[in-house]
């Protein structure tokens, strides 16, 4: 159990007061810092703030982490570009998924370390990968001399050609085919739902309609995952301003309140050694979030769940309790339940599969858009025309997972 203190969880003192997003595209040919500044200034303006009001800065992961185009600019580069004067700053790639930066910022404002934190996530993977094929996390191998050798956790998978998260998540998918009878037709609903919603998102990468036949005939990447089960590398930056809730009254739009965060990792921090091969860390992060709130899955009006690979979205559906363990296949069968007018509108801006791999932050952005009622053509309306009041957001897959429950107004 989460060691939640008596009374209100500290993160509930935080709000997302502003959101901003740069241009998003397959290959924009712009620097990561340039895109970040665009998103950041948009978020500051949206929050009704001036640059001088920002006294905190956070990102995931920054500092040249990962393969080219993955990490985004380091916080010192953004601080200097905008000449920010900071009371608190934080960046890095370890922790509860990409949203570790938003969670850390929420706790920073709650603790009085900062008042308004600019949090950003920037990718330029589209430009970095150029016209070549997509890279695995460990880099693509080639023959010849001078090929580096690998230590750490990669040594256990790279020798076997398991070089990409696609391979590792395919293992989760196949285990689900075996244990729960998941089918490709069911899995395909995640991709098709994303594509349907992306058509109403002007920034989405892929907007042409996708049929089940299109999905089933796509080339296989690593069974059971086909091309459309894998997200689309892109360029773009997303920024949010995390503020103390005492400032929320000054906003000209509804504040998005942080209700609870989920950060647990109770199993082994490993892809191939995690006890439950069908869930992994999503199970723990989701459980710890619900331990910190009186809200329940039935209160959630929209879910923005990480879909770097389609399998991850269905893992999150079960982990967060929107359906029972092993029941996500039947739950998404036909796609009605997860459509914008369904019981659980899912990934309403197209997710990462069609919207673009903004790496978790696109999903946080869309949760805010929906809670603020600014979704335009893709705005979710619940029974009786009610605007959504509670959104669940999840980032990560395998041994990496973080989740947040966001609300319009205090709940």
């Amino acid at each position: 159990m989460s060691p939640r203190p008596a009374g209100e969880p500290l993160e509930r003192r935080a709000v997302i007061s502003g959101i901003g997003q740069s241009d998003v595209g397959r290959r924009l040919g712009r620097s990561d810092l340039d895109l970040t500044v665009e998103a950041a200034l948009a978020a500051v303006e949206d929050a009704g703030l001036r640059r001088e009001d920002i006294d905190g800065l956070a990102t995931y992961p920054g500092m040249g982490a990962g393969t080219p185009g993955f990490g985004g600019p380091a916080t010192p580069d953004v601080q200097d570009a905008l000449r920010l004067s900071l009371n608190w700053h934080d960046g890095g790639g370890e922790g509860p998924g990409q949203m570790r930066a938003v969670i850390a910022a929420s706790l920073a404002v709650a603790a009085g370390l900062a008042r308004h934190v600019l949090v950003y996530r920037t990718v330029t993977e589209g430009t970095a990968q150029g016209t070549g094929g997509r890279q695995g996390i460990g880099g693509s191998g080639g023959g010849g001399g001078g090929v580096p050798r690998f230590g750490g956790f990669m040594q256990w998978s790279l020798p076997y050609g398991a070089v990409s998260a696609a391979n590792w998540i395919a293992m989760v998918g196949q285990r689900r085919f075996h244990e729960f009878g998941l089918t490709r037709e069911q899995l395909g609903q995640i991709a098709i739902n994303g594509r349907r919603n992306a058509a109403l998102n002007p920034k989405a990468i892929y907007t042409d309609p996708m049929s089940m036949e299109d999905y089933l005939s796509a080339r296989m990447i690593t069974t059971p995952l086909c091309l459309f089960d894998c997200d689309a590398p892109c360029d773009g930056s997303t920024a949010v301003i995390v503020s103390h809730r005492d400032t929320a009254a000054d906003l000209d739009h509804p504040a998005v309140h942080v209700n609870a965060v989920g950060t647990a990792l109770r199993g082994r921090p490993s892809w191939d050694q995690f006890d439950d091969m069908t869930t992994m860390a999503a199970r723990d992060a989701a459980a710890s979030m619900w331990e910190r709130t009186d809200l329940t899955p039935a209160d959630v009006d929209t879910a923005q769940l990480y879909d770097g690979f389609s399998v991850l979205a269905i893992v999150w559906l079960e982990a967060l309790g929107f359906c029972g363990r092993g029941e996500s296949g039947p739950f998404i069968e036909g796609g009605g339940a997860i459509a914008r007018d369904g019981v659980l509108p899912l990934n309403t801006a197209g997710g990462q599969l069609s919207g673009g791999r903004l790496h978790g932050f696109g999903l946080i952005h869309e949760a805010c858009v929906q809670l603020r009622g600014e979704g335009g053509e893709r705005q979710v309306r619940r029974a009786g025309g009610r605007m959504p009041e509670v959104a669940a957001v999840a980032n990560g897959g395998g041994p990496i997972a973080g989740t947040m429950l966001l609300t319009r107004g205090v709940r």
Binding site: S140, R149, G151, Y160, Q174, T222, Q273
Partner: protein, 141 residues
Amino acid sequence: MVAHGPQFRLLPRLGDDNAFFWTSGADGLLRFLRCNACGFLIHPPGPVCPRCLSRDLAPHAVSGRGRVETFSVNYQQWIPGSDPYIIAWVSIDEQPDVRLTTNLVDVEPDDVQVGMAVEVTFEHNDDVYIPLFRPLVGAGA
């Protein structure tokens, strides 16, 4: 077509903690670090038994038999020139919570099933012996 592995193998960097594992196949045996106090197999290798916290640890040969827990047939050309190859997570019979990521060999991709009994075989490559798994002779799936 019977699967092998990727066309080219990226290799592990050997050090004091992992060299025993990657060279164990020189005599045809698969070894894991084992706690001499409580018998727990420790993988990946570490400095302490995560069950009883003993530091009395040593490599220990196992039968080399295991089960396919899940698998994927890879088609993407991450490693150019590769025919489709089978990646699997294999659990070790002596302690099924220990799994290896590996390739299944000497088997048609269509014949692989979760739960299938397999046994280790080694591919000698430079200074390492890569543990691979093939169907256990005489075993049913």
